[in-house]
Amino acid sequence: MRQSPIIEVKSLTISYNNELILDDISFSVACGEIFMIVGGSGSGKSSLMRHMIGLETPHMGSVFIGNVDITQCADEEFQNALKKIGVLFQSSALIGSMTIGENVALPIIEFTDLPKATIANMVRMKLSLVGLECYVDHLPSEISGGMRKRAGLARAMALNPEILFLDEPSAGLDPITAAEIDELILSINRSLGTTMIIVTHELDSIFNLSQRLVMLEKSSKRIIAEGAPFELKTNSSNPMVRKFFSRRAEMKEERNKSEGSHETIIF
């Protein structure tokens, strides 16, 4: 039962200042899916996400949200495409000078004509979805990192987007809070049917949440694996992929290999 893709990335090539980051990436995300972009540090996952939400223009290739190619559509179409998506940034990116409530209200005020009191109720509702209804009047600097992530999630969901982009939602959080965030993501996906695109390298989250994923790799600058996480862990033909999913170090093996040789040189 495969639904039509809601996002399609077609032969996307990303480079900054003539330095190639990702080369010829293609994949698609089905409606209602929890899709993950995984890979080691520096593999270009965040860059890929920034291109998928139109923050940067790719070197080549295209990104379709719905039927619109956001890399080269008119401004109006682009704005419409943006209304379909919500983004939770790695640093939560709440506006520091505004309270949590004002942050969540920001897109609602801008893009709806609801009266003020109704918006205030809506904000409370959105915040209660992430369990922060008592923190409406707190500033982002006054709450913990996990709460900021949840508030950012509430803001990303303010306009009921069809697609949520989450950049490392549980990075830098303690295991319990991280698990809570995962739980929250899962429940939002189940209850609202929101398509989730999650950039992460947390193995727990990958196994708990993702239905399908693509894995990027730094040296080849391409997708080295695509599929369900458990399948990839056991069945992937690429040792690098199996290593990633079973959390084994690469350094150690290499060193052990070379150790013998350099011992003979010195001793």
Binding site: R50, G86, V87, A93, G96, E110, R155, H262, I266
Partner: protein, 378 residues
């Protein structure tokens, strides 16, 4: 319990079959590394390879100790076959194996920045300057478009933000601007009176202070004070938002970052800086008045009449027009530097500094352009 050893000693002896044996003993670790390296290096400089480093008597060895050996090998340019480590104690074999003596060969990338020749550097600087210009032009374009947008739909201006910025830029700056211009008026009046007194032309102190303040010093001093207070604040605020992804978040929520962040600041500056200039003029003249009354035996009435006689509407408008241009310069440069910020916390400081330096430079530059124009229109 053994007392810990804190020194490293060594014995250098010539071998029968050529080369030298260095018998190291004691503590060769982070404590002694620097000193042992210096001593060993100076003594081994004269000796000839091969070298045998005998570690039999070593009591303490860590990776700093191993580094000493590595550095000796490196600096004395001992080839692989002439460098031997003899008898490392069993406990420290692990330490030695952890230290990777050929990491230089393993890294394809060189340490630090590769050195380019002057032509490459010049080219890179040119490309960077061009991309800066490109960024600036597109930024000014974005501001123009957003302004057009605001004129078409005044509701899209963020009113509350604008009022907050007006308070920060105008009301909060009033005490310092007032004090500075008052003192400035005082100084001009005092200095000019020293000269004018000799000719009995005391009353012209009033004219001089009025002209200087209204057409030149009022606008420029206000602009410089505001550039320091507000221009830097604009740059730092926007730079902070930039590096913490807040601007990306605004963009992805469908906001126009220019409309959201720049226009309220620009409007606030355009409204408040000319107003501040009016206050500056007023306080400057008040400073002159004080000197006139206290030191030059002028009456307040005569001083004020002379001031009013000297000033023309044109003069006042000219000064205000200049301060309007300065306002645009300060806010646009402040916001631009904020948006250009990239990287970590230091980028915020850099943006603030660059905003102040650039806007003060541009203020002076534009002021001289205005002076040239003025000399043509008389």
């Amino acid at each position: 319990m053994d007392t810990p050893i804190h020194t490293c000693d060594y014995k250098i002896s010539a071998n029968n079959g050529g080369g030298y044996t260095v018998r190291l003993g004691g503590n060769l670790s982070i404590e002694t590394a620097s000193e042992s390296l210096k001593r060993l290096y100076s003594e081994l400089k004269k000796a000839s390879p091969p070298f045998y480093f005998d570690l039999t008597d070593i009591a303490v060895l860590d990776d700093y100790g191993a580094l000493v050996l590595f550095e000796l090998k490196h600096h004395l340019k001992i080839s692989e076959s002439d460098f031997h480590i003899v008898n490392p104690p069993e406990t420290y074999k692990k330490t030695l194996s952890l230290v990777n003596f050929d990491f230089n060969a393993r890294c394809s990338v060189t340490f630090g920045q590769p050195k380019n020749n002057i032509i490459v550097e010049f080219g890179a600087a040119t490309i960077e300057a061009l991309s800066n210009v490109k960024f600036m032009v597109s930024f000014i374009g974005a501001i123009t478009l957003s302004l057009k947008n605001v004129l078409k739909r005044p509701k899209s201006l963020r009113g509350q933000d604008t009022i907050n910025y007006m308070k920060a830029t105008g009301v909060d700056a009033l005490p310092v601007v007032a004090l500075i211009s008052f003192l400035l008026g005082l100084i001009i009046a005092f200095m000019s009176s020293l000269q004018l007194k000799q000719f009995g032309a005391n009353i012209y102190v009033a004219s001089l202070v009025a002209m200087a303040m209204v057409s030149e010093l009022g606008p420029i001093m206000t602009a410089i004070v505001v550039a320091g207070r507000t221009g830097s604040a604009y740059a730092a605020e926007i730079a902070t938002m930039k590096i913490s992804e807040e601007i990306d978040a605004l963009f992805s929520m469908g906001f126009n970052p220019t409309l959201f962040l720049v226009i309220p600041r620009l409007v606030a500056a355009i409204i408040t800086i000319p107003l501040l200039t009016v206050f500056a003029n007023f306080f400057g003249i008040a400073g002159g008045l004080l000197i006139g009354i206290a030191m030059l035996d002028l009456t307040a009435g005569a001083y004020i009449t002379q001031t009013i006689d000297t000033l023309t509407i044109f003069e006042l408008c000219w000064g205000l027009m200049k301060s309007l241009v300065f306002a645009i310069l300060i806010s646009v440069v402040g916001c631009l530097k904020g948006f250009q910020a990239q990287g970590g916390a230091s980028a915020v400081g850099h943006a603030a500094t660059a905003a102040v330096v650039n806007s003060i430079f541009l203020i002076i530059l534009f002021d001289s352009v205005f002076a040239v124009i003025r000399s043509y229109i008389g």
